[in-house]
């Protein structure tokens, strides 16, 4: 049963200008819950753009997107953000932790707009840091972390609002192979907890990992293989 479906989705940047770029050109996809899915393809093939569309971060130029059978294509930003907060957690290629503030606060950031009481929020963030085995760094500033630690903190941040789907863009790009394997173990762990994991990667270690349920290849903004 697919929970997310894309129908003929296109995304054009800088429409009508000389630098117009059609990043996604008519993609139709059905994604199932509880799976680990990898988008692969050379750089410029539209992986990241497709992630932002699936993750309700950007609205498609045309086409329709359904989440749990409900159309989210033209929801105003407020509602789209609400859907996104409840459904998706994001891990970015460069982690994008905010420098100068403590790790604990970095993890809590996505939950600030939800208006949870402060103690609840702190308890939840600590639990996640513990789960990812970086709780000893809770008071450290985010820019003092090693690459592996930053990755784990970024994952903890993605989990703070208890999303159903973890979206990760090139998660192994800044990790050595040992850390990359550790990451895949984490992904397997998330899958056991019932989370869906959607990754964009051109790293063979990720493509060939046993934990991956489905591989989708992209080229020039279109799905090459792996689409139902």
């Amino acid at each position: 049963m697919s929970f997310l479906s894309l129908r003929e989705v296109r995304k054009v940047y800088h429409q009508g200008r000389p630098d117009e770029l059609a990043a996604v050109r008519g993609v139709s996809l059905e994604l199932e819950e509880g799976q680990v899915i990898v988008l692969r393809g050379p750089s410029g093939s539209g992986k990241t753009s497709l992630l932002t569309l699936v993750g309700c971060m950007a609205r498609p130029t045309s086409g329709r997107i359904f989440l749990d059978g409900r159309e989210v294509t033209s929801l105003p930003e407020r509602f789209l953000t609400e859907v996104r907060r409840r459904t998706f957690g994001f891990v970015f290629q460069q982690f994008h932790l905010l420098p100068g503030i403590p790790v604990l606060e970095n993890v809590m950031l996505p939950a600030y707009p939800l208006g949870l009481p402060r103690p609840t929020l702190e308890r939840r963030a600590r639990e996640l840091l513990e789960l990812l085995r970086v709780d000893h760094r809770a008071r450290a500033r985010a820019d003092w972390l090693s690459g592996g630690e930053a990755q784990r903190v970024a994952i903890a941040r993605a989990l703070i609002n208890d999303p159903r789907v973890i979206v990760a863009d090139e998660p192994t790009a800044h990790l050595d192979s040992k850390l990359a394997l550790e990451l895949l173990e984490l992904v397997a762990d998330l899958r056991r907890r019932g989370k869906t994991v959607l990754m964009a990667s051109h790293d063979a270690v990720v493509h060939d990992a046993a934990v991956v349920d489905r591989r989708i290849s992209l080229r020039d903004g279109r799905v090459e293989t792996g689409a139902p």
Binding site: T52, T81, L98, L109, Y112, L116, P117
Partner: protein, 378 residues
């Protein structure tokens, strides 16, 4: 409601932290802001206090002053006029006054010489204001020599100094007896500088003034209300003029604020991009920016008002005093009585916080509408 409060608290926390992380830039902005507020507030506080002081003085002054005019100039009033005034219905008490200005060449100062209603000293004695005492280094018992109109010397002895309570008007005052006054200025007996009269029914003041002008066509009656109006418009005019001059400063500050708000650093832009990407919505960022603005405004407003208060009421407004009070060698060194109310604060709000807000609202919105997917595409 609790959710709303918790959300605002989290956003405020983050806003304060975010300001602190860029403290160099923000403290500089806040300092300029506070300085602007302090300058405008000083003018408002100072003129407000002067106005209150003048009102206190006027409250004790006569309701109508009658001056005789000769060839369009103020002239001495013959005692016969006082008799004529007595015949006007509604007039209470009438009294001829003797007062004048005296230039003292030694300290290059002007004194106001006055014969009070009932002089409590004797002939040959003088009661002097604090300003005069400072200029001539006088203490009770000191001799005070004044050069009379005919070149002779009038020798007086200081009986006491005036209390410094309302120094604004009493600083340059010298009180002497009627006989000494006439000798000093050569004013013959039977004439007065002017006359003051009280009116039995306060509502009749303008009617009485009209009757005086009709009965004695060569005189000019001046009512207390007119005096108050004159004081008031002089103070307002000076304050307004100063505010316009300071307007340039406010404008410069607004340009700085606009520039700071719109020239977001790359780091700040990335930070907002990350917030949007991890699930903040435009209105969350707008609320964050509003808290930042409120924190800066409140700090600057509070610091500016306190600085102005200290400048005006504790230090006596050393910077604005010459411009706002007029020039005289005998500056009164009176202590201003604080007069700060919601009205002054509202005025100040519109002269500082409103322009700041108007200048920063569009840049903040621009910052808040960064696309959430921007950090992924960079």
């Amino acid at each position: 409601m609790r959710t709303w409060l918790a959300r605002q608290r989290s956003l405020l926390d983050f806003a304060l932290g975010s300001l602190w992380r860029r403290k160099g830039k923000n403290l500089a902005l806040t300092a300029v802001y506070a300085l602007t507020v302090a300058a405008v507030a000083s003018v408002l506080f100072f003129t407000g206090a002067l106005r209150a002081e003048a009102a206190r003085v006027l409250a004790g002054s006569p309701e109508v002053v009658v001056q005789r005019m000769v060839a369009g100039r103020h002239d001495l009033l013959p005692a016969g006029h006082l008799q004529a005034l007595r015949g006007i219905r509604g007039v209470g008490e009438i009294r001829g006054r003797l007062w004048g200005y005296f230039h003292d060449p030694t300290p290059q100062a002007n004194y106001t010489i006055q014969v009070p209603d009932r002089f409590w000293g004797e002939e040959g004695q003088a009661v002097v204001g604090q300003g005069v005492a400072r200029a001539r280094r006088l203490a009770p018992g000191s001799p005070l020599d004044l050069v009379a109109h005919d070149g002779s010397t009038l020798r007086l002895r200081v009986r006491e100094l005036l209390a410094s309570g309302s120094e604004l008007v009493s600083a340059d005052l010298v009180l002497i007896s009627e006989a000494d006054f006439r000798r000093l200025f050569g004013v013959p007996p039977g004439v007065y500088t002017d006359a003051v009269l009280t009116v039995r029914n306060p509502r009749e003041v303008s009617t009485v003034a009209a009757k005086v002008a009709a009965a004695l066509p060569d005189t000019r009656p001046i009512t207390r209300e007119e005096l108050a109006r004159t004081y008031e418009s002089i103070f307002d005019w000076r304050a307004g003029l100063s505010v316009i001059v300071l307007g340039a400063a406010v404008l410069a500050f607004v340009v700085v604020a606009w520039d700071k708000a719109s020239g977001l650093s790359a780091e700040e832009r990335r930070e907002i991009g990350v917030l949007k990407a991890v699930g903040w919505e435009t209105s969350d960022v707008l609320a964050l920016k509003a808290w930042e603005g409120a924190a800066v405004s409140l700090t600057a407003f509070g610091a500016g008002v306190l600085a102005a208060y200290a400048h005006v009421f504790l230090l006596g407004a050393p910077i604005f005093r010459p411009a706002l009070q007029g020039w005289s060698v005998l500056y009164p060194q009176f202590r201003l009585v604080p007069e700060v109310g919601p009205y002054q604060l509202a005025t100040l709000f519109f002269l500082s916080v409103a322009p700041y807000t108007a200048a920063t609202v569009v840049p903040s919105w621009r910052a808040a509408t960064v696309d959430p997917d921007a950090v992924m595409r960079s």
